[in-house]
């Protein structure tokens, strides 16, 4: 790692001030950022550690959903009785991230700000009609992910919390990379009354919805409603783990599994 200085602000205002410094970088759980720094792929002047900022941690029930603080660790979401009772699919998703030690450090805010194409949380943000709150505004989950490792965040903007809407039914099914546990393809299906959302992660540069699946499931919320439907392999990721065609195949399989799990 290149040398940097370090700050641990104790209020959001202090964090906002600290992150204005040239080449300053936010540090949340560090599970992505520290390996990046160890490889000398970035050279920040200062790390602004968010761990002591109050009001960025924990889960709270709000009208029609749940608010999860950006600094809430994956393990806390996975084990939260409130999440398990309100949106069990979200707890299940969090429990499937990486391994136990990664879940004990990694956070929701760090995961979505990083916008890894294979990360799990982006699918929940889109499928569960989330709204993100930052130090300066609210951003609709639908508008947040703009590309591979790219988001709608402005330089120095801090995500403080994410509000997820409670669906009638939902489930997340992922075909994981057996070594890293990242999603080769992950599909989050959520039903809100007559509306169904299907959000796919891992398959392309960024999370996307599948309108044809959504319409079929809105008419008949059964796995067989997806028989014969598939996404095009054009523009899907291809790497040593899976070809684009295989990923396209997995999108339908994982969507069916999610519908079955949602019940």
């Amino acid at each position: 790692m290149y040398a940097f200085s370090y700050q641990r602000p104790t209020s959001l205002a202090e964090a906002v001030a600290a992150i204005q410094a040239d080449e300053a970088k936010l540090l949340s759980g560090g599970q992505t950022l520290l390996p990046t720094l160890k490889q000398r792929l970035a050279q920040p002047s200062v790390l602004v550690d968010l761990s002591a900022v109050p009001d960025m941690k924990g889960v709270a029930a709000v009208d029609g959903g749940l608010t999860v603080g950006a600094f809430t660790r994956h393990a806390e979401v996975a084990h939260s009785d409130l999440v398990k009772a309100t949106i069990p699919a979200l707890a299940h998703l969090a429990e499937g991230i990486g391994d136990r030690q990664v879940r004990n450090m990694g956070t929701l805010g760090g995961s979505i700000a990083n916008a890894d194409p294979s990360a799990d949380y982006p699918s929940a943000v889109v499928a569960l009609k989330a709204t993100l709150t930052t130090d300066r505004r609210a951003i609709a989950g639908d508008d947040f992910f703009t590309g591979m490792f790219e988001t709608a965040l402005e330089p120095g903007e801090i995500v403080t919390s994410v509000r997820f809407a409670t669906p009638d039914k939902a489930a997340y099914a992922k075909f994981r990379n057996p070594a890293s546990r990242y999603a080769i393809v992950g599909v989050f299906v959520a039903k809100f009354g007559a509306e169904v959302r299907v959000a796919v992660t891992g398959a392309a540069g960024s999370v996307f919805r599948v309108p044809a699946f959504e319409a079929a499931l809105a008419a008949n919320f059964k796995a067989e409603a997806l028989n014969g439907l598939s996404v095009s392999a054009d523009d899907l990721n291809a790497d040593l783990h899976a070809s684009a065609d295989y990923r396209a195949h997995l999108v339908t399989v994982m969507a069916k599994r999610a519908v079955e799990a949602a019940g």
Binding site: S5, G30, L34, P35, K38, D49, S51, R100, Q101
Partner: protein
Amino acid sequence: MPCTVTMTVNGKTVSREVEERTLLVTFLREHVGLTGTHVGCDTSQCGACVVHVDGRSVKSCATLALQVDGATVTTIEGLAAADGALHPMQAAFREHHGLQCGFCTPGMVMSAVDLVNSNPSLSEQDIREGLEGNICRCTGYHNIVKAVQAGAEAMNADQAAKIAAE
């Protein structure tokens, strides 16, 4: 710029001058001299570096010492009793041949203890999934799983004896 970091390591308060970029594993091994915590991969994959921070298992190669300033840290050296008697999980690894070269063992034991603390009735599947962050290139895992099952039973028995004694 050097800065001071202070934490409780295996029950003792330790304070050292470090650089901001000093990793927790470097702090433990090179500044405090506790070399039981190993570095296998240095890329967050293998779990040889697992220690407990405020009771939760973390990979110390992917954590800055400054991130845990003020915290309570337990390393493999902190598990045995003051008289040297092995922790039940350490004893179970020895008894059930849960190690060959031993390089992964400190991390395996620390992960296993955290696992049992969070769920006293682990199934074999729970153990295999709970140890996903730890890689062993010698044993083939079967004896590690057996050791953790036995270690869990011994830890639960110890716990029950403690409660009965109170």
